[in-house]
């Protein structure tokens, strides 16, 4: 088994994120791309924060400014990562992926407004971009997730997802793996 060092993990995510952004045709600033790479590196080293996202969102929105930024960033990052990497995990919960994505979009939008005109203006622009194109960045992370996983189980999972959702994006992923859907037959 190959063990990747932290440096090579960062490089892996950097390549994967750049490629996915290109493939998905998303216009993203260099800062946002860098933010996504760091987000993936961080989540690959530390466990996901526990507890319902909506409760954290409530706490974040009613917290004092310093704590608010930290909590909202946690909501945005968790929402983006889970929606992109583990959307199937939400099948077992009361809420769906749209609900989860909605939380992240709003959290980043609040952060961008908080940081507008402040010292962290560059961050404000990153959060604004993440909020405005949240669904597109979920697709980007989803493609990175496919690169990071792969294999027949993953193809089966994508087939199930396509049958269930009819998503064009999933269909494209399957096509990249040589799977074609046509007239009720899977090849």
């Amino acid at each position: 088994m190959e063990v990747k060092s932290a440096r090579s993990l960062n490089e892996f995510f950097k390549d994967a994120v750049s490629r996915a952004i290109r493939n998905q045709g998303v216009a993203a600033t260099e800062h946002t791309e860098f933010y996504l790479v760091n987000l993936l590196s961080d989540f690959s080293r530390t466990p996901l924060p526990g507890g319902p996202l909506a409760i954290k969102m409530c706490e974040g929105l009613s917290a004092l400014p310093g704590e608010r930024a930290q909590k909202l960033r946690e909501v945005g990052d968790t929402s983006l990562f889970v929606s992109g990497f583990f959307p199937d995990s939400l099948n077992r919960s009361l809420v769906d992926v749209d609900y989860y994505m909605g939380m992240g979009e709003i959290a980043y939008a609040h952060l961008s407004r908080m940081l507008r005109g402040a010292q962290g203006e560059a961050f404000g622009e990153v959060f604004c971009e993440l909020s405005d194109k949240f669904a597109r960045f979920v697709e980007v992370l989803s493609e990175v997730s496919d690169t990071a996983t792969g294999g027949p189980v993953d193809v089966l999972r994508l087939c199930e997802k396509y049958v269930k959702t009819g998503s064009e994006s999933v269909l494209r992923k399957l096509a990249r793996r040589g799977v074609r859907f046509g007239r009720g037959t899977v090849h």
Partner: protein, 213 residues
């Protein structure tokens, strides 16, 4: 009272009428047979079975008896306010679940609790005897509903966290409604906003509350 509350909420939010809430009421013995972990004075039980949603509502019979004796439409005060709020909470849950089920949109526990807290405040404000536009009355009511309360001791940590989050957000929204609409007696405008609010996602509701506060 429950049926009147149901009609009132459906009218307030301009909803398609849902089935009569009284047909879904369950008594204590029925609730016990379902083996629920907690037996609070108000409880909405949901079971999804083969794509069908089954609903049952329990409301403490003493609450219903007190409301039958002291009709909240005649006067709302210390003698019936707590029971009225309990009944509103149960009916609010029922109506909101039915609304979301019809639209096939999933619902979370926090959404249910938040909406119920707001429904309690709004129905009390609209029912209040001494003129809903009275600033002191509205403030006193808000403080009574959102500040002077205690959590049931048998709540789990998750439930306590959920109720606390719903309470804080609802209190902030109630204060904002009070400032923007109740004091100025702009009730038609308030109803318009409440109807839009009811149909929002939880994320958008929290966003609106944060901006309005």
């Amino acid at each position: 009272v429950l049926r009147e509350l149901q009609r009132g909420l459906e009218e307030l939010y301009r909803l398609e009428p849902s089935p009569d809430v009284r047909d879904f009421l369950m008594d204590e013995s029925r609730r016990r047979t379902l083996g629920v972990q907690r037996q609070p004075r108000e409880q909405l039980l949901l079971v999804e079975h083969e794509g069908q949603l089954e609903i049952g509502l329990f409301v403490d019979p003493q609450t219903l008896a007190n409301l039958a004796l002291h009709d909240p439409r005649q006067r709302l005060g210390a003698h019936n306010l707590a029971d009225f709020c309990l009944a509103v909470e149960g009916v609010s849950h029922f109506v909101y679940v039915a609304f979301r089920a019809r639209a096939e949109v999933p619902i979370s526990g926090l959404e249910l609790e938040l909406q119920a807290e707001i429904d309690k405040y709004v129905t009390c404000v609209l029912l209040h005897d001494d003129g809903a536009g009275d600033a002191d009355d509205a403030r006193a009511l808000r403080e009574r509903l959102f500040s002077r309360f205690h959590f049931a001791e048998d709540l789990s940590a998750d439930e306590r966290e959920r109720y606390a989050a719903a309470n804080v957000s609802a209190a902030r929204y109630a204060r904002s409604l009070e400032t923007r609409f109740v004091h100025a007696r702009r009730f038609p405008d308030m109803l318009g906003e409440l109807r839009r609010f009811y149909r929002m996602t939880l994320a958008d509701k929290l966003d609106l509350i944060s901006d309005a506060a």
